[in-house]
């Protein structure tokens, strides 16, 4: 329980740092902190494979890419321009506290709908096997659909970066006659 609280607090601190830091590098490092503490949370839940993937893919590969982009674009300078919506920070704090409070209240009497003992045996000690079996049986359709989601993301980003060339209409038709009463 204490371990959970420490890790949860760490991931929260990382998350707040990510959105509050004015320097992009600090924000990325905050996100790394969140992702790694999440990975450790997975370890405490016996989901070892998931934890490894989380560290390798998210905290490792994705975050390195983030850092590369931040440095390549020279985006590491602190943001100093005026905030276009000055009151949003206060509003966010108020709503965040309200949400956290209601979550605490709501989760007070929470009882898991399925017993945790079964879940532990299903996990088989966090091996990759059960994850793969579930992905290709129970979650087959979402698994396939996510590949389409990635396809959309790839095509979309390529189309936005390499602005496609506007094509002329094949046979330019004679301009339509101006309608009645229209002054040319």
């Amino acid at each position: 329980m204490i371990l959970f609280l420490i890790l949860a607090l760490l991931s929260l601190v990382g998350g707040v740092l990510t959105i509050a830091a004015s320097n992009a590098i600090h924000a990325v490092l905050g996100l790394v902190g969140t992702l790694i503490s999440l990975a450790m949370l997975y370890v405490t839940l016996d989901a070892h494979f998931l934890a490894a993937v989380q560290v390798i893919v998210y905290a490792g590969a994705v975050m390195v890419l983030f850092l590369f982009v931040v440095m390549l674009l020279n985006a590491a300078r602190p943001v100093s321009s005026r905030d276009p919506i000055p009151y949003v920070r206060e509003l966010a704090v108020i709503f965040g506290v309200l949400l956290a409070g209601s979550l605490l209240l709501v989760l007070n009497g929470y009882a898991p709908p399925r017993s945790l003992a079964n879940a532990a045996s299903d996990l088989a000690g966090g091996a990759p096997g059960p994850v793969g079996a579930v992905l290709l049986s129970k979650f087959l359709l979402p698994f396939e659909a996510v590949s389409l989601l990635l396809l959309v993301a790839v095509i979309g980003s390529v189309a936005l970066v390499l602005r496609p060339q506007v094509q002329e209409d094949p046979a330019p038709e004679p301009a339509a006659q101006p309608g009645r009463g229209e002054t040319a």
Partner: protein, 474 residues
Amino acid sequence: MPLPHISVMLLLPFIILLLTTAACTALGFLVHRQAVTWTAMAGLIITAASLIPLWDRHLSSFGGALLGDPFGIALSLVILLGALLALLSSLDSAKRSSLSFPEYDLMLLLGVLGSVLLAMAGNLIVLLIGLEIMSLSAYVLATLQASRSSEEAGMKYFLLGAVGSAVLIYGIALVYGATGHFGLSGIAAALGHAAASNLPVLLLGTLMLLVGFGFKVALVPFHQWTPDVYSGSPTLVTLYMSVVIKTAAFAGLIRVFQMALSGVHGWVIPAEVIIALTLILGNFAALREENFKRMLAYSAVAHSGYLALALVAKSSLAEPALIYYLLTYTLMNAGAFAVVAVLQRDDSGVTISDLRGLYSRRPGLAVALAALLASLSGLPPFAGFFGKFVLFSAALQSGFVGLTVIAAVTSMAALFYYLRPAALMFFSEPAQTPQLPAAPRQYSAVAVWVAVGGTLLIGVLPNLVMQLLQRPLT
């Protein structure tokens, strides 16, 4: 773990859409963009044809993750119709909006794929992925034009849409935590014997789902992106977003709330407040707008309010009314935006004073636009009237008297902003504005007249559609 049962018949529409997308990708390198558009349109028609034999068979696939019930099929057909009208009017208007490249058709097709997946989703994960495919392609489409306003619109849409998705995912997680199920029927079944201590978690998750979907369908106070994005995006993209995205998002919203969460207590009153605010704010904000595209954006918000009446009404009444209204809405909104795309000089759209005396210059377009506006405002004999009638009576018969009164009163106010441009077109001298663009517009004209004919046909003979919907839909 055994492989789930997979029904190929039910997957066929998706396979056809995917093959069309692949064909369009390849053709984009070889032939002119218009040929790609024709291919895409043919693909959409074949997809629609493959959906029709599934109508009464209530197929389900992947262990209930994909549902081929009449509700999903009907809304998928509406989505395909909206996309077809968007592609048809893009055949001539895309060049003037600098969108004449195959990437436009490709992103649109992928968006349609996500929308159909969303309309047929039987569990929350598939629903979320469908929604994300649809939203991602819409963000890209909104940004696709190389102009400042388009980039700004796309960025706004992306940021606010991402927040909406995040809230939605949070809601899905809480609902799963409370019930232990992702499947819609599983959640509904688990509500009966959920531990009483989990009900607050369930309610919080339900409210977050409402907020997340509220972002996507533009319910007040989550509508703020709508006027900016609708007016900043290229008009053709606005056409697509206002019909296809709205239909699909409503399909998801109604599916989740009517099929899975109708047994949860406590969300109806917040939903009523949101609907009432949407009706009031959407209609009254539209009164002040001088830009026709922004006016139509607020009108889209107001229509979200009417459509959301189906959220609280009894499902047996709400679902047919929703499908009928979304069909009507697709026809009339696609038609109205297609007219704007023809008339506009650039993608900031037309102002209402630009429409002065349109009848003396473009009599055909003026008559068509007037008919579409009359339908949007809910005047008989157009389909907008009967659509409002069935939606309002569904809400009334379910006991929501106050909401129905608000809806009726605000739709009276809406008459003013819809009919003012119509009156200006006919009874006013042409404005001293530069000439409207004289460009080829035969395809847009076909799209507009299909829309007008459709609203008139199902407005005069509503039973053509309603008869088909008199059966268990989900």
